[in-house]
């Protein structure tokens, strides 16, 4: 944002145009978040109602839920937490550490599967 250059960092004072643009952006974001959440809950309840025992498409529902949550996180971080307007270097320092988490999620999910397998072999639980 070029217009911030002449101000002390972080001490923004907005003019009318910036204020109204930002309000519109935030209003749009809250509508998106609400719609996504209502859709998630609606689908969860509906699927459970139609398939009380689990059904064959639970994986597709789960995939949808994960993607919908990522959409929500994108809008919360991007608009509400202002990350859309931060510098690239700063974004790197925020997101690069998260690559460790991607590894951890994959590793421990596989580990859980392995424990389940071992439990079935031992058959003592």
């Amino acid at each position: 944002m070029e217009n911030n250059h002449e101000m002390p960092e972080g001490h923004l004072h907005w003019n009318d145009q910036e204020y109204s643009d930002s309000r519109k952006d935030v209003l749009k974001t809250i509508i998106i978040l609400s719609v996504v959440t209502i859709t998630e809950v609606g689908i969860a309840i509906l699927y459970d109602h139609l398939n009380p025992t689990g059904g064959n498409f639970k994986w597709a529902i789960n995939l949808f839920m994960v993607i919908a949550s990522i959409v929500k996180v994108y809008f919360i971080m991007g608009t509400f937490m202002h990350l859309k307007h931060e510098t690239k270097g700063f974004l790197m320092t925020v997101f690069v550490p998260f690559t460790f988490l991607i590894w951890a999620i994959i590793a421990f999910t596989l580990e859980g599967r392995s424990w389940e397998h071992m439990r079935s072999l031992l058959n003592v639980f």
Partner: protein, 229 residues
Amino acid sequence: MAATLEHGHHAQPSEQELWAGGRSPFKTSYGKVMMWYFLISDTFTFASFLIAYSALRFTQSEAWPKAAEVFKSIPIHGLDHYNLPLVFVSFMTFLLIVSSYTMVRAVQEGYRMNKSGVIKFLIPTLVCGVLFLGCQYLEWTHLIHDGMTATTASEATKVLNFGQLFFIITGFHGLHVFGGVVLLTWLTVATWNGTFEKRGHYEMVEKIGLYWHFVDLVWVYVFLSFYLL
């Protein structure tokens, strides 16, 4: 920030100028950057809890209870006989989403140096936070009454780990909400007293706002793990 620092016209600042001090290479304030780094470290704590949840769930994936059975009713006396899965927790989610919206509105009013506007939007944020904690109290009481505790599984949960992970993770999240409520209370009083007006900027509203949005962000994952998957 020292008043003597120059923030004049630098069409193309040289590398030396950028790193000579007195100016952030990230074009944002020290306080906000450090709040972000605190939130990243907090993300790792929450992530380790949620990863433990995922690993322990996969060790007993067949027996793992369905959210619609565990959270099948509204934990309010008189309404708890109806089968309304996920309705109450959706209401809790909305409290956090709405409070995030009012928080960001308070930040915007801060950019406009509008003191009464900041207070006008901080108060609903605070109210939503307190209501969320109240809802969590009702939900926990209801589940404990059903027999789901840290040492016992209820009829609906079957698996002991479900309750343990639920109380640890939602409890740690609730602790963060409580911390946010304390910060917001202080922030509202300080704004009312004109602390930030005297200072010339409302950056503190932004920093506490970042923390508050983070609490909402974590809830997205807690909601996903326990209620949607």
